[in-house]
């Protein structure tokens, strides 16, 4: 097998890996580089949890040979997360109960990030459309859509109305 060296920019950092032919980005990120935020779901392009951004566009790392990203900019959830605290989308997902088991969350957030980069104020329909390739079996999607709406509206996601209300109820009880 003719292994090749592939060079690309991962989360802003020049990265070089040696890969066998057709090794997917999913395998490169998780097994070779230890970037585990990108999840392994269906491995056939149906679930969206392995979504990464290539030059800012969502792509499925399970379908993407590493050789294809030579010279390109790759972003994973690790690249979004600041050293301290959370990215506004992560905070909004947390505050709006948009994660339950959490397995779909990395893919959801990567697609939401790409959407907001392309279109800072999407309608609800545009959010649903963008996220339609990402499966979530826990939340019923509503909290996820709400979380993206919160960030899109530029609200202060650290003080979400929904979380406050729930907390108040508990106190009253």
């Amino acid at each position: 097998m003719a292994s090749k060296i592939v060079t690309f920019v991962l989360n802003g950092r020049e990265t070089e890996v040696m890969v066998k032919p057709l090794t997917t980005m999913q395998v490169v990120l998780r097994d070779k580089l230890g970037y585990n935020a990108t999840k392994v779901g269906c491995k056939e392009g149906a679930c969206g949890t392995c979504t990464i951004l290539v030059d800012g566009e969502p792509m499925l790392s399970c379908l993407l040979p590493a050789e294809d990203v030579e010279g390109r900019q790759v972003t994973t959830l690790e690249g979004l997360t600041p050293v301290d605290g959370l990215h506004p989308l992560q905070q909004a997902f947390f505050d709006n109960y948009a994660t339950q088991c959490g397995y779909c969350t990395p893919g959801m957030i990567m697609v939401a990030k790409a959407l907001l980069d392309h279109n800072p104020s999407p309608t609800r329909e545009e959010i649903v459309d963008a996220l339609s390739g990402n499966l979530c079996r826990c939340t019923g999607y509503e909290p996820i859509i709400r979380a993206v709406e919160v960030v899109a509206e530029g609200q202060d996601s650290r003080r979400p109305a929904m979380a406050e209300r729930r907390r108040d109820k508990e106190i009253v009880r």
Binding site: M1, L22, E44, E57, L63, P65, E67, D68, D129, N134
Partner: protein, 276 residues
């Protein structure tokens, strides 16, 4: 994984040279949305794979009478290209956003049914396919490209280079029935285009997807529409003809019976949309 080599040619000539050298021993892959799952699962174990992402085949070129779309053009680019009817909606019917960023126009020609949501629109627009090998190129009508289930007229050393769409006349409609609102496999897809002469139908195209071994034109239905005023009776007759001439199959998405039944319903709705 047994793949010994994965090549990414940097030009069409280089790609055609590789095909000339390896022929059918070379698996051609564009976006990877169809081939990669099979390779990952070991269903397909190609020794040598050629990727087309860097071969210069991603473009939309407007020429005098037609639009040429490169075979490796991502579907997202088709969604965003507003110079032709039907195609943006048809491309948008495929997968989710990430799949459309990867899947390509040429790749959709090789998608087994009920996939092929873009092809059905291309059929209604009388598209042709440009095929090339290292020595020559030829252009075949898309309607003559398919020869059976996952079979086509492509020679082992040939590559689909581009799809050519003539500037369309007439009114169009595209409808897809699936189980979900979006990112859903097709039960039946219908693309139709009607060219008028006064108030009568001069030319009709009714293309069907998901109800045959490959996306196909419902030629009996098309012939029945010509000369009519596309009134209720004409639409009902054409819809019945389309339901009769389609060759549906059963899969986990829908039964043969349901697909045939819905072919009639969706064809009549699409034609009614054009008539309105």
């Amino acid at each position: 994984m047994t793949t010994k080599a994965y090549n990414l040619p940097e030009s069409l000539d280089e790609a055609l040279g590789m095909l000339a050298q390896y022929g059918s021993n070379l698996l051609v892959m564009a976006g990877g949305t169809l081939a990669m799952p099979l390779i990952t699962k070991g269903v397909s174990q190609p020794e040598r794979v050629m990727g087309l992402r860097r071969a210069g085949l991603s473009y939309v070129r407007e020429t005098g009478g037609s639009v040429a779309i490169g075979a490796a053009t991502p579907l997202t680019q088709v969604v965003n290209y507003k110079g032709l009817p039907l195609l943006p909606q048809a491309a948008h019917n495929i997968g989710g956003w990430a799949i459309r960023n990867m899947g390509t126009v040429g790749g959709n020609l090789f998608a087994p049914p009920p996939a092929g949501d873009l092809v059905v629109a291309l059929l209604a627009l009388d598209a042709s396919v440009k095929l090339a090998n290292a020595r020559r190129q030829r252009v075949v009508p898309l309607a003559g490209f398919f020869s059976g289930f996952m079979a086509n007229v492509l020679e082992p050393d040939e590559l689909v280079v581009e799809v050519q769409v003539p500037r369309p006349q007439g009114d169009t409609a595209l409808l897809k029935l699936g189980r979900l609102h979006t990112d859903t496999p097709t039960v039946v897809g219908v693309a139709t285009r009607i060219v008028w002469e006064g108030r009568k139908v001069k030319e009709a195209r009714v293309a069907l997807n998901g109800v045959g071994p490959y996306p196909m034109r419902a030629r009996k239905a098309e012939a029945m529409l010509v000369g009519t005023a596309l009134d209720e009776a004409a639409i009902a007759a054409a819809a019945a003809a389309a339901a009769g001439e389609c060759e549906p199959f059963s899969d986990p998405i829908a039964s043969e019976w349901y697909r045939r039944k819905m072919t009639g319903v969706i064809v009549s709705r699409a034609l009614a949309q054009v008539a309105a």
